[in-house]
Symmetry: C3
């Protein structure tokens, strides 16, 4: 493990310098918004708000916590599936998410939350949800690189990924005025292509040397199911967390709930159908069951109808599971450890298309006049936009997300190829030993010796 | 494993056909309700609702997510306790819950949510909570059968279990006008007897041949505690999720919280008392600690008083733990893998009785006039019903739940005995190998051989 | 296991007697408060409350459930990190929390929630949150003693710890009128010194005899990360759960979120910097990442500013990680299994100091007049108090917390030294075998013998 010496200095320095930079930038730029500032009681009176429960905090905090669980436990544990990279899966996910969310508050804030009165970013509950969303993009990218990069490389990936995301999001949501509450484009498509492009540039022809560790273990598969289930259960909160108050949040949650349910059945079907003797593969269950949530990221708040949501989940469960079949993996020639192409890229693109079609076919007869205006925010300078035009802009949004993911990933990929980041050698990938003090496991002692060693050793004097 | 071939075709077909059926039925019958439809803003004005936070979504969504966690992580991980059936425990739980909740939205909707104006089922947050409740009945039944049935049998169990539940629920809650917010009768009693009757009909005299796998492992016991704790913590949400807004939800949560706390102490006491040398048994802690929550399913929203809740939890912790003692298991002669008789059947029946007594003794002096009317919904055609009469109807509700569980279980049990479902042979029960690609554990391979076995094995051609 | 016989009788007796005492005391003293009582609809009319969503339940229930998860899953799983004490970690945590919360409702109720009209304690959502907080103090103390005490000793620790906490809390919050919403002083400082003092009195010079088990395993480290992450994610709910409605809760959540994020980076930095070859240590990641949450317990609801929160987290991550370095452990000469000195004591004291300074420097220009009055509750007999004076009282509060922790711990420590509690011998510490039926692990048995050993062993007579 020759990279130890490098890591020993770079990682602490990066963590310290970047955290100090965050403190300085927050000191200059970031303040509480009206709803989290102690002047709220005066603000309430001015705006004739009659109750504290109208503070946006109460509309969004339960969903925020669900999203937060998805980011840290969901993504984190989903990435524990490798038999000897569980520490790295959940640990580095923790590190880059914690850095990313601070950086995202600044980056997104500069675009969305800058108060023209004093040039400062005003943060509240919606900003911290959006920061979690922004972080999700980088964590998806991490999924493609799991086990093959150093923590410093991940910090760099996040350093560049967050502003790329913020610009992309600004263009899509504000310049193009696209609706994408759950981020099929903004989060999933961008994040997946960002990671896949980096992985493609960091291609390791000799990765086979780590093949023995590139697989799951019985218990690590169960750990990964913790991640899967928290992602699956809380996805309705993800897609509804920043939707409109009232029917928007309500409908987004229901649509996502249905799409996810539908994905589960088709995932089990394809998984069983594709294997010898009909056996199910945990990799499929852990991942493809979530495809419906990804694919509802754009259309969740639209009037896509309950059966429309089921259809989306149905198709994405199939497509995503197919992506995980071995012959597909060979065909793709991408070293994509977690299969983010199957879980985020394909369903994300599909979700964007579904969203564009649903938007283009929206009508006042289905939404009501007010409903249409509220759902697509046809207000102010967008008051004249029609659903058909909106559909076109939705499609344009997808192109922006793809472009930012691929171009951004290419640039960052080349930066990460510099030989200074302490990445693991080809025969040390997928191995926690490289970056972690790993406890010696009782079980890792050769069985033939174990029994005796127990008799004379460790447990001999038990009780 | 001779059943592989059968499963290979049946499971995918069942998943596909039933999911397509769901899509068609949802297309014909299911629409958004007033609070999740884009017409909400007009609806709000008509009904003089002044704030979006009055949308039922905000009253119920946090509890919904807690219930959702109980269904997927709670039940799922509780069933990972077997040393080599963790995949099946959490995985099949996931499959049948995802199918069941769609089917439940239809079945319960036909009884409860049909809009007479257009003959369509209108769904919102309360419906998806109820769908999770309905699914819980089938998952309880799965607990009795864990490790002994095929996924296709579980799909059939769910296919019949959901409409049985919906009819039973309709009779109990609407025809008899019984109160059962947390489902001591409707969910637990029905679900447990449904599963136990099926298990009795599928009795395997030679199950001993799988005895080596019918036990827990150290880590699988810790995984199961994840299930236990999420069930235990969120049970207050389960029992209050569809209670009346305001004091009803508030009281239901507090009563359940107290009953659960009380169960824990008596479970530890009986567990320690019953074992040689006073050692505690994880099986008891994993299960009997939850009995107080089951038993408060009916009375949680009543004015049972805080000490009344403690008494209920006290008794049920004792009864449930006794059920898990080995001599009881022998006496019962039921192959009940998870002990649902002890955790759901007995506490469920007791909870129904407690609810009937509490209802029968309700008075205006305790509830206040309005409180009594609201709590028992003595409105409309039930305006003249007295607490004493209500107590009688509550008892009748219990009989209905028992009858549906036992008769329904008998019918479904005979269907599941047909030799076409690909169930495991007697010496293959409790073994994930039958239905899953199980990774070879690093630990179970002598280190010297490990590298090679992986080189030629499963992951040799990955990437 | 020579203590088995003692435990066999004491634990069940303690559980039964104390639970029965709870029932009697609740029967005499505890009733529903106005918001959980069926008279709520009348109360609502009297107080001109126009909507059920103004019931405090809806302001606090989501945070309550997050806190509940922290208590049972957070603390419970954080303590599963030892390779062979996971049952005891999560199991005894469960036992004492379940007892403690009942006892806390009484003890805190006598001080805070006694209704002078009828001499009864009126409980609602805020009381059950406070009960969870009170329990947290005892669970922190358990962290110092993990693996070295019997469950009966833990019950005694809780029996005395809860009233000590309640008195301390009453003095700090009500007599001194100190603000400490997240309990840097009241919970963390008290709990840590309570546990550390007990541990000091129960010092075991020969604890080395259990050294082989005083360490983590690969999977137990991953289990512990479940605890870490749920604590980390939900800490914003912990610090905001009983803050003022509106901006208080909102700001407390945001400040805590930021401090926690900042701690993560400095923890990774110091962990990497301190180890040979820059390797990260899971113990640091599991614990020191949480220090920012502890340290924001007092100041979270103040206008500490977002960058102020980052600075607090930055410093505490460093201090806490340093505490876990081996040379520090040697220096301290305290047998502190979970390192509560590093995670709760030091950051708690620092949090109290930060709170005192922030309070002392508060001004109307920053808070607004109303904001200052609301945040520090300068009302009634405290209407004349100035921020500077408040700062002094905050500092006094810290002294009270320290005094109660150390003196209380000393008294309880001497009680726990009595040789009647069935504690493990020096060579049996950190071993679940002492108090639990531990399943034989498949993996630890030579494969060839496995089948037979099971046939004649533990499960041979099951079913």
């Amino acid at each position: 493990i020759s990279n130890g010496n490098i890591t020993q200095f770079i990682l602490p320095v990066v963590c310290f310098v970047w955290q100090i930079a965050m403190i300085i930038l927050f000191g200059v730029f970031v303040r509480y918004d009206e709803e989290s500032d102690a002047h709220w009681s005066e603000h309430k009176r001015e705006k004739n708000i009659t109750s504290d429960i109208e503070n946006d905090f109460y509309y969004r905090y339960p969903s925020f916590q669900d999203v937060h669980v998805m980011i840290f436990v969901g993504f984190g544990f989903l990435m524990t599936f490798l038999k000897r990279y569980s520490f790295g899966g959940v640990g580095f996910n923790f590190l880059i998410a914690a850095f990313g969310l601070q950086w995202a508050l600044l980056m997104q804030g500069w675009f969305h939350a800058l108060d023209p009165a004093d040039g400062q970013i005003k943060i509240g509950i919606e900003n911290i949800i959006n920061a979690d969303f922004c972080v999700a993009g980088c964590l998806i990218a991490y999924g493609a690189l799991l086990g093959k990069v150093s923590p410093v490389q991940l910090m760099v990936l996040t350093l560049f990924g967050i502003p790329l995301f913020a610009v992309e999001e600004y263009i899509i949501l504000h310049v193009l005025h696209v609706r994408d509450a759950g981020g099929s484009m903004v989060i999933h498509t961008f994040g997946a292509y960002y990671g896949l492009t980096i992985s493609w540039i960091l291609y390791r022809p000799k990765l086979d040397q780590s093949k023995r560790l590139n697989g799951s273990g019985y218990h690590s598969d169960v750990f990964a199911m913790i991640g899967t289930l928290f992602l699956w259960m809380f996805w309705p909160s993800f897609n509804s967390a920043i939707s409109d108050h009232g029917d928007g949040q309500h409908r987004a949650a229901i649509n996502t709930y249905l799409a996810l349910a539908s994905s589960v059945l088709t995932t089990f079907a394809i998984s069983s159908l594709s294997a010898k003797r009909g056996k199910l593969d945990m990799v499929h269950i852990q991942n493809a069951t979530l495809a419906g949530g990804v694919a509802m990221g754009t259309a969740a708040e639209f009037m896509i109808t309950p059966y429309g949501s089921l259809i989306v989940g149905f198709c994405c469960g199939i497509i995503s599971t197919f992506g995980y079949l071995p012959f597909m993996e060979k065909y793709m020639k991408i070293q994509d450890t977690c299969g983010v192409h199957n879980l985020h890229a394909m369903p994300g693109v599909l979700g964007a298309v579904v969203g564009a079609i649903t938007a283009a076919t929206a009508s006042e007869s289905v939404y009501g006049h007010e409903g249409l205006v509220n759902t697509f925010d046809f207000k102010g300078k967008y008051a004249e936009r029609t659903p058909a035009t909106q559909g076109g802009f939705q499609a344009a949004g997808l192109c922006v997300a793809l472009a930012f993911g691929i171009v951004g990933g290419a640039i960052v990929g080349f930066i990460l190829r510099l030989p200074v980041w302490g990445d693991p050698s080809d025969d040390n990938c997928f191995d926690d030993e490289v970056y972690w003090e790993v406890p010696e496991d009782e079980e890792s002692i050769p069985p033939i010796l174990e029994y005796n060693s127990h008799m004379v050793g460790k447990y001999a004097d038990r009780m």
